[in-house]
């Protein structure tokens, strides 16, 4: 394994000189890389300069890859390919590896890991896939927007799986999580005060139900039927419907306590 340090960056950072000329012993190299990397990483995080891949990062990436990417029907051991494409020796450049790992490939099983993997794991797996393609140094670091403790709790509550359908994400999408039935506009300080005056009463035969009308015109009307969660997008003959006045429908917030709603509010404000 060759040195994985980016020398020009190294010299810019002006820390202790690394080995030059004669290669150091393996032990020395690993210790040195690890120490130097930590130092450089701290500086890099501070200065937003490109990071380098260290041997430990690549090794950690290999571990993440084995558990996450090589599994089952996907990329195979060491990226040799399986159900999903081979990743080793493909001549991928870093930008491609970062963007595909982060965002996935639309229409395929390759999901974006930008939000699934913790940042150190993400960077490490990119470093590993880069190493499978002969790339040994470069950047993956981007500024991460930190959430406050309360906002982070709010994010989890927003899409809390233990609440079944009685959670915000059943109807709202924030930061890519949830179903975009209705946008969140001007969330008030107290979420219990959200106005829902745009929810209408719809009469269809003998059935009266609250609905969010999406389009009404011509022969067909599209609406979200809010009788029960989850909302149902329905397309009905306009002649079979009557859209009445505002419904007394209220948000289904019953599963959340006041404190939990405050946390969700903090989350919504922080991602604005």
């Amino acid at each position: 394994m060759k040195s994985v340090l980016n020398r020009s960056l190294w010299s810019r950072l002006s820390v202790d000189p690394v080995h030059s000329g004669r290669p150091p012993s393996r032990d020395h190299r690993e210790r040195s890389n690890s120490r130097v990397f930590t130092h450089a990483r701290n500086l890099a995080a501070l200065l937003f300069v490109p990071l380098m891949y260290s041997q430990t990062m690549v090794e950690h990436g290999a571990d993440v890859f084995a558990k996450t990417c090589a599994t089952g029907y996907c990329h195979g051991t060491k990226g040799a390919g399986g159900g999903a494409p081979k990743l080793a020796g493909r001549g991928f450049d870093e930008a491609l590896i970062v963007s595909v790992t982060r965002a996935g490939v639309p229409g395929t099983a390759m999901q974006g890991y930008g939000t699934i993997l913790a940042r150190p794991d993400f960077n490490a797996v990119v470093a590993y896939v880069a190493s499978l393609n002969g790339i040994e140094a470069r950047s993956t670091e981007t500024a991460v927007r930190p959430l406050s403790g309360e906002a982070a709790r709010g994010r989890d509550l927003f899409s809390d799986p233990l609440r079944g359908f009685a959670r915000c994400s059943t109807c709202h999408q924030v930061d890519g999580t949830g179903i975009a039935v209705a946008p969140i506009v001007n969330a008030p300080a107290s979420l219990r005060d959200i106005s829902t005056s745009h929810v209408r009463i719809v009469i269809e035969g003998g059935d009266r139900f609250p609905a969010l009308v999406v389009s009404q015109g011509g022969r067909r009307t599209s609406l979200y039927d809010l009788s029960v969660l989850p909302p149902v997008m329905r397309t009905v003959e306009s002649s079979a419907l009557k859209v009445d006045g505002a419904a007394s429908w209220r948000h289904v917030l019953g599963s959340y306590s006041d404190g939990e709603l405050r946390a969700i509010g903090a989350f919504l404000r922080s991602v604005k």
Binding site: G72, C74, G83, A103, V105, T108, P161, L162, D225, V232
Partner: protein, 544 residues
Amino acid sequence: MRFLFAVLSVCAFAEDGATHNDWPQHGGTSLFWRYSALDQINTSNVKRLTPAWAFQTGDYEMGFQATPIVMGGVLYVSTSRNNVYALDAATGALIWQYKYPAPRGAVVYGPQNRGVAVAAGKVFMGTYDNYVVAIDQKTGAEAWKVNVEDSKQCGCNITAAPLVVKDTVIVGGTGGDSAHRGYLTAFDVKNGRLKWRFYTIPGPGEKGHETWKGDSWKFGGGATWMTGSYDPDLNLVYWGVGNASSDFYAADRDGANLYTNSVIALDPESGKLRWHYQEIPKDVWDFDSSYESVLIDREVRGRMRKLLVHVNKGGFAFVLDRTNGEFIGAYPIIDNYNWITGVTEDGKLVGRNEPVAGKPTYICPGAAGGKSWNQIAFSPRTGFIYTPSLEVCNDLVAGKQDVKEGASFFGGNFIMKPPPKGPAHSHVDAYDPVTGKRQWSFPYKYALLASMLATAGDLVFTGDPEGNFFALDARTGAKLWSFQTGAGHRGSSVTYAVNGRQYVATPTGWGSLVSNALTPVWPEAETFRSGSTLMVFALPESGQ
């Protein structure tokens, strides 16, 4: 002779599970026999079978995995990206098409679809981004669409055909290899409103919750990724439940892990559990029990019983009393198995061979299964079930994995390996469904991953990955006819009649997770062709 058999058959079995002119449900009928009473095409004339028409969908990603539905001379079929076509079943002419909008971003498990359900004037389908849609049966216009759960969050989507019981449409989902808690969800056929949800893993305070350690129940698998059966007399829905997660590493979920790897019986109106039978407690091999349940009535030890025959990924057929879930018997449908040494007379697994953390353990069959999801068939005329088996093993490595909701959660990895003696291969067999006595075996050198279709013409139809669609003699296993369709087979053929002419329709087009992962044992798998063409066969019209 044939007449005599027919009379005997009627005496032995109610013909409830047979289809006639239509192929109205995913498994033929709700009893899931995949058997048609049509016999115009039979052992004496099948060699004259010839293409009648073909329909190319153009949507070949992950292959063409569907079971067509035929009702009143119209054939309904879905593709992997959830496009639906209504076709004239006699000519292939397009009546309407429904193009599903492409979801933004990636989709967990990729685009795959195994069929629609048609009932109450609508065509129902689960989608690869985890919605259920209802389409007007006459016009193809979307009537309603409802999200089951955010696909990216749950690591799940829908590939299976829905099951409609009266005014309820029931859908299962994938997610067994994700950090996911499985469930079935039921909607009102009229307006898509939620009727019930049944979690396959009991929550705190529910019976069975004690079979999970700590928080492991929250993401313990139990996906319901194939289609259930329904017995109208007992008014019970039967569904197979998939593996526990993480698949191979179980130290964090020590316990039986109910109701993973079980058959569950539910009330279709309320979704309440009536009984369950767990085939594999604490699964550590990814041996889903999510496959089809075949409902037949047969004499067992002198007494007529209402039975359920269910093959799981471990390569064992389980026979249960479907009134109460009582274990009747179990038998292997594969030759190579070492994950257990057998099953006792009261249904206990003996000699478990479990993977260990950090080093490979050679296990047969492999995680792809002694049988994949392609479905078995039952003929009341022969009294046999027809099963597709895979003789493939794997090296399993277990490993502790941090859990993150919706993310991949295998807890290890597998590499396919050939069985101990000789190369990987597969076979179609005929078995007595109760005793497991093998009647005949049809061997094949690669993986047979298309469903079985049995007919009253005493034929068994299926297809192979090289592109051949073929017919076997249901009594002897002799190959009577074969046709090269040009692409591999991973779907489920059906048969139906229009204006007195019998047709056999099969999707062609290789693909799916398992199909795409076979190269370690079959390098030739690189040559198996994808595609997405419905091929339809019939006998030449008279005079030709």
